[in-house]
């Protein structure tokens, strides 16, 4: 028998240490941020982080690309905008309906899509995102078309979520839960099967992994992540426009995954934080900021091809 120690657990221990650090930062942050501008930025970072963590389960862990993920963001956002406004649906129920619709679309579309690989998969998901975007823009009767529409405040019972402080704590709790549950998933039989089909689809198949079903499941799961956070964004901003579902939004999400680091939960977190902050941080460059951002991305890909967190972990940390 192998000695009675916890085998192969150091990786997990490091991860949960990381979760602790994230929670501590989240708790301290509102007390050190100088004004509401930064609080707003922090909220948007956290929302993006949750979406990107979900997307990274699909891209980084399961090895499948989606270039249309903003479409699911749009479904959630517009569910929360349209349903309460036009039909008087309770906001919480609207979030649930949005997530269900996103899951259903993802599930129905995923099976034929995941028979594809590489470029074809990218094209198919791209097309899916574009279709959702166009639908939202064209159904002006319900969605306000290109002009967008106002979203009622999120209220539960008599309590209305309105101040940035309240929003911050809601999003911080969601983010902590998201990091925790993602780490759990990655180190579970489900998560190992995902990583295995990324590492070698053939190997995964011969040990009994139904690869298509797993790809579909994780696609649906990440779509649900995106839809719920789309709803949150809509309520938080109080307004939605079709831009939330457009191609550039999808690309930005993928960029966050890649810059932060594929197959790294904390990488997604960092990627979301950096890329949400970059336009603000580079405001001094005025008209040139897009070029500077582009150059930073290119340098990152050349010098840190595995993304920030995995590269740094390999350099300074043990294990992964």
């Amino acid at each position: 028998m192998v000695a009675n120690r916890q085998i192969g657990c150091n990786v997990q221990k490091n991860s949960f240490l990381g979760l602790g650090v994230v929670i501590i930062i989240l708790v301290i942050l509102p007390f050190v941020l100088p004004n509401s501008f930064y609080l707003d930025l922090a909220i948007r970072m956290a929302i993006n982080a949750i979406i990107v963590i979900g997307l990274n389960l699909l891209i980084g862990f399961a090895g499948q690309i989606s270039l249309g993920h903003a479409g699911f963001l749009g479904i959630g956002a517009y569910a929360s905008a349209v349903l309460p406004t036009h039909f008087g649906v309770h906001p919480l129920l609207a979030i649930g309906i949005g997530a269900t619709v996103a899951a259903a679309i993802a599930g129905i579309i995923a099976k034929p899509i995941f028979k594809l690989k590489g470029n074809y998969l990218a094209m198919a998901t791209l097309g899916l995102g574009i279709i959702i975007h166009i639908t939202i823009r064209n159904e002006a009767r319900w969605t306000g078309g290109p002009d967008g529409m106002a979203v009622p405040a999120f209220a539960l019972g008599g309590f209305e979520l309105s101040s940035d402080k309240q929003w911050y704590w809601v999003v911080a709790v969601l983010l902590s839960f998201c990091v925790w549950s993602s780490l759990n998933i990655i180190n579970s039989p489900f998560g190992r099967a995902l990583r295995a089909l990324h590492g070698s689809e053939i190997a995964a198949q011969v040990v009994g992994v139904n690869v298509v079903r797993y790809k579909v499941s994780i696609f649906v799961l990440s779509a649900v992540f995106a839809s719920i956070m789309g709803s949150m964004t809509a309520h938080y901003v109080g307004f939605v426009s079709p831009n939330i579902a457009d191609f550039f939004q999808s690309i930005e999400l993928v960029t966050m995954v890649v810059i932060g680091g594929m197959a790294s939960v904390f990488g997604s977190l960092l990627g979301a934080v950096i890329i949400t902050a970059l336009p603000q941080a580079l405001a001094a460059f005025e008209g040139w900021e897009t070029i500077v951002i582009g150059s930073i991305f290119m340098l990152c890909m050349i010098f840190l091809p595995k993304g920030l967190v995995p590269t740094l972990a390999a350099k300074f940390g043990p294990g992964r």
Binding site: M1, G8, V11, G199, A263, R320
Partner: protein
């Protein structure tokens, strides 16, 4: 009742029949080996039984139930496990996780429970960690529990695949060349490991080129040739079967008159002391972690036909690839026509006159026959084009007939001719032919060898790597015998044909 029953299965890839009307049974508890020359269909057979390919026709039953056409994950549920010739390791996971994934079907795969860290699921997972660690110990890898799998050597990964297969609690394990690329020490250890597996009651199906290992382990052996059953029986029966010897060493009997005539020719040729065209010294090359060429030294004179023979995995193909520059060398020098070409890329070497007809033909299915020949002449002056094409058509009249057709529609033999033709269009000073007879029907094999004979008579320098040792040696001036990346024997054709070691290199006798 046998555990596995294979009943009359066939599979076609396009026009090529890879496995044809094959039937056999495997009883529970045996070590059952499948052997045969390169391209005989062994790995295809594994892929058929384990669900990677679906048979075109025929039935397969496992444990009494029909399994043909089922996907690999369904077969895993029934207790069929396998390892792979070219490793299928998940390099994004640790060594231990690679073993744990083998237990996939026995675990609670619920994603919600996983997300919420459900206690029963956690406990089961901890138990699995222990079990998997024990399995790694069983295959001798207890040192590598927490290792990243991409940091491990080839030999260790081979065992890791076996541990992963065992984690499935299989009834039957298919091992596809478990000893390929291993050194003798590692091969020995794998052999003992396989014996241990069999002793624990698992039925083993083995594809392996190391004949010594096959003969030591097997209870029964199935011999394949051209996708068909050549014979089946115990080690002793198979070893003495003349068909088996012919399949491995080629069909030309060295005592036949044809052999004698060729013999006289080569003596004439080798008595001329022509200038050296190619000199290779200390040449080494490797695929990732596996060193395939281990310091080769040899030379080739102008006008010589050199036979490169040896069992599968000896390094023949790698040597040709390294000579043409498709494969990088790690050490050593290659001098060609008075020039050091070690640092030259494949395209430069081709301009210098080294033309390669690679293993597996490498034909572009969507280009026409004629386009292939134009492509082969890419580096040549336009003035030569018509004349050279006519020459290729004269050698292979069938290509002229089909010159407007897409190469993908040609038969295997015609594609082989096209591959040689394409190489000839580069006006080679040195022609490298890799297994031109592989997968061809005997009649076509004769045609291809006749062409080689013609080219030789025209004075072309040729290196011919072949499984078909007798036929190759019969038409060559000299031969080099390769074994595990080294040249172990050299001599003129006739000497080698009669050499006992040549037989042993192929058949492990």
């Amino acid at each position: 009742m046998p555990l596995l029953e294979v009943d009359d299965i066939s599979i076609h890839f396009g026009g090529v029949v890879a496995v044809k009307n094959l039937s056999f049974n495997i009883d529970a508890g045996l070590i059952y080996s499948v052997i045969g020359p390169n391209g005989a269909g062994k790995t295809t057979l594994f892929n058929l039984i384990t669900g990677i390919y679906k048979p075109t026709s025929g039935k397969i039953r496992f444990d009494g139930q029909a399994i043909h056409g089922q996907s690999p994950n369904k077969l895993a549920e029934r207790g069929i496990a396998r390892t792979f010739q070219n490793l299928q390791i998940c390099f994004n996971m640790t060594a231990l996780e690679n073993v744990m994934i083998g237990a996939h079907l026995r675990l609670d795969r619920n994603v919600l429970k996983a997300a919420l860290r459900w206690p029963s699921l956690r406990r089961r997972d901890q138990k699995l960690r222990k079990e998997s660690a024990d399995l790694m110990k069983f295959v001798g890898l207890e040192k590598y529990l927490d290792a990243r799998s991409d940091a491990l050597s080839y030999g260790i990964l081979k065992r890791l695949e076996i541990a992963r297969a065992l984690a499935m609690n299989p009834k039957m394990v298919f091992l596809d060349e478990p000893a390929a690329g291993l050194n003798p020490q590692e091969t020995n250890e794998i052999e003992q490991l396989i014996r241990k597996l069999a002793d624990s009651g698992i039925t083993i199906v083995l594809v392996e080129h190391d004949m010594k290992m096959v003969m030591n382990l097997s209870d029964r052996i199935l011999v394949l040739d051209y996708g068909k059953k050549l014979t089946e029986g115990t080690c002793a029966q198979v070893r003495q079967n003349p068909d088996v010897i012919a399949a491995y060493l080629g069909t030309h009997n060295p005592a036949s008159p044809e052999g004698q005539i060729t013999d006289a020719k080569f003596q004439l040729a080798s008595s001329k002391q022509e200038a050296v065209l190619l000199t290779v010294s200390g040449l080494e090359s490797s695929y990732g972690k596996i060193k395939v060429l281990k310091g080769l030294n040899f030379e080739v004179r102008r006008g010589e036909t050199i036979a490169l023979i040896g069992a599968n995995g000896a390094g023949k193909t790698t040597l040709l690839r390294t000579l043409s520059g498709v494969q990088h060398s790690d050490a050593g020098e290659i001098w060609f026509d008075g020039e050091n070409i070690t640092k030259q890329h494949a395209d430069q070497r081709m301009r210098n006159g080294i033309c390669h007809s690679p293993e597996g033909r490498q034909i572009f299915g969507s280009l026409s026959v004629e386009d292939h020949l134009f492509l082969g002449a890419y580096t040549q002056k336009k003035a030569f084009l018509q004349q050279d094409i006519e020459r290729v058509y004269a050698l292979f009249p069938i290509l002229k007939e089909k010159r407007k057709l897409l190469a993908g529609t040609l038969s295997g033999g015609q594609q082989q001719m096209l591959s040689i033709g394409r190489a000839l269009m580069g006006r080679p000073k040195l022609l490298l032919l890799d297994e031109p007879s592989m997968g061809l029907a005997p009649l076509l094999v004769k045609d291809v060898f006749d062409v080689v004979r013609t080219l030789k008579a025209e004075g072309m320098t040729i290196i011919l790597a072949e499984q078909n040792a007798f036929a190759t040696l019969a038409l060559s001036d000299r031969g080099y015998v390769m074994e595990t990346g080294e040249i172990t024997l050299t001599g003129n054709g006739q000497e080698l044909i009669h050499n006992k070691k040549v037989r042993s290199a192929y058949l492990g006798m």
